[in-house]
Symmetry: C2
């Protein structure tokens, strides 16, 4: 079985193609592991990029924001490019040239569409909250129509996406292997610290998050 | 003393302006704390965005890559937008609406310029390596002319940049304060794990990195 090829010319990874992955599973795993994406778009021909929270349902990446947001308005009118990058490790070689980083990244091209139906919005916001904090939605003060109305949800298909992953050791030149500089990988990970409960919180125990221990 | 205003219309923070910072110190602190930025740019009118490593020297953010890189060639020909985002905490409120995130982010607008002089490149790559791993450059197999020649360095001024920071607690509606859902902040941090030394590394002890304990 041959490796899947890029879904479109613009998703084909040009630099370091040995790090490319085009399978849907590779893309969705990285989308799910990350919480923040960067959305690049154009307004009047000028390029803008803004980091924002995201979540995934099925074959779409979702973002949300205030209905009045300039970005959300621009996004439904043109093409966007969404990127995600997770730093997994520092790669230290014997030469400066071969220093590198272990990472997982995704680039998605396409157009966002508005999720307009209030029940779809409610269901999707619930998936967002419960995806970060299992079963939390049902414990919250219920969302009201005004909140739902002033929040815009957008989604972009994951159909035109590529992933890029480096997850291996040092690649020094053969003749440098005996050079006396430490060579190896220093892993990086994002961890949760001790929760800080608000003074007026009725409950004192923080819920589980899907980031614990990642 | 009044707060500095945005250095240009396109850097003015429109959503949540209370989170905006325009002082150079606020921008450089976030640039220095992060290792990865996302560079958004255009090729033939289409928007692209690619995550890449960065470092700072003085009033510029630097990136590097292969001389043949399509991105680096496009960057010197048009405007770019560079974003950085660091996730600092999960903010859990009593209502879905007031869930949020503590973060530090930067958006930089401008045009990259090529750093062409070999001695400038050498000095700047040294600053990059030593910035991540203090005093490491001098211990490495020296960079050669071919490596220097096939590596392109670009830099963009930090003159047109804004920072956005949320670093406080929960902001629930007054009438929700007694709702029995946990309210508070769960800190997030990036930490280094146990270094994995290459089997053929002459030295067995990993150097310090500026990420330890951040």
């Amino acid at each position: 079985m041959s490796k899947p090829s890029a879904p479109s010319p613009r998703t084909r990874v040009r630099r370091m193609p040995e790090r490319a992955h085009y399978e849907a599973d590779a893309v969705t795993a990285i989308v799910d592991a990350a919480m923040i994406c960067t959305v690049a778009f154009q307004i009047d021909g000028a390029v803008h990029a803004i980091p924002t929270l995201h979540w995934r349902e099925g074959e779409h990446l979702y973002i949300h924001g205030a209905k009045a947001s300039r970005m959300l308005k621009a996004l439904v009118q043109g093409e966007a490019c969404v990127t995600i990058a997770l730093a997994d490790g520092l790669v230290l070689a014997r030469s400066a040239m071969h220093h590198s980083m272990n990472y997982r990244s995704v680039v998605i091209y396409g157009r966002f569409e508005l999720v307009a139906n209030p029940e779809d919005k409610r269901r999707s916001l619930r998936a967002f909250i419960d995806g970060l904090y299992p079963d939390r939605w049902a414990t919250l003060r219920p969302i009201n129509d005004k909140e739902l109305n002033t929040t815009s949800l957008l989604r972009i298909p994951l159909a035109e996406a590529s992933a890029k992953v480096r997850d291996w050791g040092v690649e020094d030149d053969e003749e440098d292997l005996s050079w006396p500089a430490w060579a190896g990988v220093i892993p990086l990970r994002t961890e949760t610290g001790t929760p800080r409960t608000e003074d007026d919180s009725v409950l004192s125990e923080a819920p589980a998050t899907r980031f614990a221990g990642r």
